[in-house]
């Protein structure tokens, strides 16, 4: 009888605790945040491209890309350094070696035909030209280019490489020492003057690059070091899939990553933004197991002490 009473009290406490939790967490957040359907990076608004691509033909077409882009996988160097490129275009055009590995095939084909609408940034380019001109006149040439990019793309792309390609030219990541113009160089201060000339020079370049970026986008895109803690997993994937759906008017383009490409990027965001996750998962069961045994021993002690009291 007595025991039942304690359990009843416990049930009441647990009930009110859970109602409060439900109200301030899942319920309140469902009201506060817009729900955006996740579409699995299928880009269904874009028509399927039926034309079969020919990588060799694509290679010939890609020569035109090298006017602005580097293609390191095909030994084509960048025509200009990142700061000059940003001064010219607003942002440093990406190296195309990974385009076939990280981007969605269909997206890429449409992007080559009509970049501004495929990237969903037409609202930002009403009165000025989008720096990337259409490179494919029809489905066939688009498919050829895609085939070429797929043929030069490496088999294995690391999460870090995927991030640098898809996000890294606009978003820095200071906890991983990544800036929009590449990794922070390891420079040393002069031991007499304590001035770090190498770093100052790099920072000057970075300042200029950021300045161009702000002019191009309207504001500086956020640092992504701990974005996995600042936004939910669901928000991140729906935002990357369709930025306008989450944040209408944003300057963030639809990057067009494939599902696999996004998983790589997310993995990197998680590695940098939540480095303790593997440790939490390793230590958690031991600590909880310890307290289960502790509670069992405490229960035995409690029973022995309270024996014959009632």
């Amino acid at each position: 009888m007595k025991k039942m009473k304690e359990l009843k009290i416990l049930a009441v406490v647990v009930f009110f605790t859970l109602v409060t939790y439900w109200g301030v967490e899942p319920y309140a957040h469902s009201v506060m945040h817009k729900h955006v359907e996740f579409k699995n990076f299928k880009y269904e608004d874009l028509k399927p491209i039926s034309a079969k691509g020919d990588a060799a033909k694509g290679q010939a077409l890609a020569a035109a890309c090298a006017g602005c882009h580097s293609i390191k996988a095909a030994k084509m160097p960048a025509p200009m350094d990142p700061v000059t490129a940003a001064a010219t275009y607003g942002v440093n055009p990406p190296d195309l070696s990974l385009a076939g590995a990280v981007l969605d095939e269909k997206y890429l084909a449409h992007f080559l035909k009509d970049p501004v609408h495929t990237a969903m940034v037409a609202h930002k380019f009403k009165n000025r030209a989008y720096p990337m001109p259409p490179m494919a006149t029809d489905d066939q040439s688009a498919a050829d280019l895609v085939a070429y990019f797929k043929s030069i793309a490496p088999k294995e792309v690391t999460p870090k490489e995927a991030y640098e390609f898809a996000c890294g030219r606009c978003h820095e990541m200071r906890y991983a020492k990544w800036t929009q113009i590449g990794e922070e160089p390891k420079t040393k201060p002069n031991i007499q003057t304590h001035m770090n000339e190498g770093k100052l020079k790099f920072d000057e370049k970075l300042a200029k690059y950021k300045d161009h970026l702000v002019k191009y986008l309207g504001k500086l895109p956020p640092d992504l070091s701990i974005i996995v803690r600042a936004r939910s997993e669901d928000y991140l994937k729906t935002f990357v899939e369709d930025p306008q759906a989450q944040l209408p008017g944003t300057a963030m383009p639809r990057v067009g990553v494939s599902k696999e490409g996004y998983e790589k990027v997310f993995k990197y965001l998680e590695e940098v933004g939540d480095p303790s996750k593997p440790k939490r998962e390793a230590v958690g069961p031991w600590v909880i197991g310890y307290f289960i045994i502790f509670s069992f021993l405490a229960w035995l002690w409690y029973k022995s002490q309270w024996k014959g009291l009632k």
């Binding site: 939790y21 967490e25 309140a28 600042a230 309270w306 009291l309």
Partner: protein, 410 residues
């Protein structure tokens, strides 16, 4: 003149006893500190709170070693240095954040236990008042701690809460600037809240905990039936070996054995939250660094402040502040607003029974409404709940005055 045995070996039992009266201390503080037998696990919440405070203190000490109270460095010292570089730094931070949230859940359970069983009257008024002082100091401690990571929520909560001190139409901007040490939260603000969080408020809390324990000593702990126990007589029974007949048990080891068991269960749940479910205690918005040029879309306090925040929201500026002030202090007056002499569980106390559950549910409604954006139906519900809260407290003296005395009680 005290007698010191010259033959006692240093630090031997007798040597210690001569100098520190350890036997007396042990008797007074533990083996002959009497607790009623007729209690349930809710009586262990005090111990759970003390243990959680210990967890906060220890994890806080480790965090303090790497935290930098500088507006330019604070965010990275927490989110990069402590979370990524310091060995087990992430564990201390998660433990600290989760404990800071959970401690308020336990405080509320502890408070509502006191209200339910009437453990705030007939000699126990000071227990209630010292407990309320602890609640207020813990609130200040939680708020000042929330400023330290210098994220978006730190900054904007700091802005909004310090703005309250302009006291509506009185427009005391000078006072607000004095509290901040600047026109907006900045270095001076972070520095002083750091000091409050790691030195002044913990000292006050520790002193208040001693006071709270002290106030328990003479009236003793209440029991499940509100029965007035003759502790001396019952203690004699226990000492005579009548374990079954005595209505009391010694704090140590009998009461402790149950407390420790409850603590064990509590720590299982607590560490589950620390390792697998910490989001509720670490708001995502605070993982964006403080940006004075960008207001977050929703500004809300941590969950334990939501009910009083919601009392502020539905009214116009001045009325809201008055209602907010009312909510902050009204719990202090509980022992004097309850006019009934009965010390008994709420279930046996006439209208008070309904009052208790109405208050609990109303505060949960206020808490939830305090978090959702103040639009449409939520504003209506929030306003009704805020009025209900005020009216419940206004009604308390009247409904308790009507209450019939329970037989056998004065």
């Amino acid at each position: 003149m005290a007698h010191f045995d010259p033959n006692a070996k240093p630090f031997s039992h007798q040597w210690m006893n001569d100098r520190l009266a350890i036997d007396t201390l042990k008797r007074v503080l533990s083996t002959e500190y009497w607790i009623p037998k007729n209690i349930n696990f809710l009586w262990a919440m005090g111990m759970v709170l003390a243990a959680t405070f210990g967890v906060l203190l220890i994890s806080g000490i480790f965090l303090l070693m790497y935290y930098i109270p500088d507006t330019k460095l604070a965010f990275d010292s927490v989110n990069h240095t402590i979370m990524g570089e310091v060995g087990y730094g992430w564990l201390w931070r998660h433990m600290h954040a989760v404990a800071a949230s959970v401690v308020f859940l336990i405080i509320y359970i502890h408070m509502f236990t006191g209200i339910y069983y009437g453990s705030y009257k007939r000699g126990r008024e000071l227990i209630w008042l010292s407990g309320m002082l602890l609640f207020v100091t813990f609130s200040a401690e939680a708020f000042s701690g929330y400023m330290l990571p210098w994220g978006q929520m730190s900054y904007w909560a700091g802005m909004v809460i310090t703005n309250l001190f302009s006291l509506g139409s009185l427009d005391l901007q000078g006072l607000v600037e004095w509290i901040r040490g600047d026109y907006v939260p900045g270095q001076a603000f972070l520095g002083r809240f750091f000091m409050l969080h790691v030195v002044l408020l913990p000292l006050i809390i520790m002193a208040l905990i001693v006071l709270h324990f002290g106030t328990l000593r003479i009236p003793h702990v209440n029991n499940q039936d509100g029965e007035e126990i003759d502790f001396e007589a019952e203690a004699e029974k226990w000492k005579a070996g009548k374990r079954k007949e005595a209505k009391v048990i010694p704090f140590n080891p009998v009461f402790m054995s149950k407390d420790v068991f409850v603590l064990g269960i509590y720590f299982i749940i607590y560490f589950y939250l620390v390792f697998y479910h910490f989001e509720f205690a670490m708001d995502p918005v605070n993982f964006d660094p403080a940006d004075p040029l960008k207001t977050p879309p929703h500004i809300y306090p941590e969950w334990y402040f939501l009910w009083s925040y919601e009392i502020l929201r539905p009214f116009s500026k001045n009325a809201g502040l008055i209602a907010f002030g009312f909510a902050q202090v009204i719990f202090f007056f509980l022992p004097f607003l309850d006019r009934s002499p009965n010390v008994a569980p709420a279930s046996r106390r006439g209208l008070f029974k309904f009052w208790f559950w109405a208050l609990l549910i109303d505060m949960i409604v206020l808490t939830i409404m305090g978090k959702v954006p103040p639009i449409g139906i939520y504003t209506t519900i929030g306003t009704i709940a805020a009025w209900t809260f005020i009216l419940l407290w206004v009604a308390l003296p009247f409904i308790t005055k009507l209450e019939k005395p329970i037989r056998g009680q004065k």
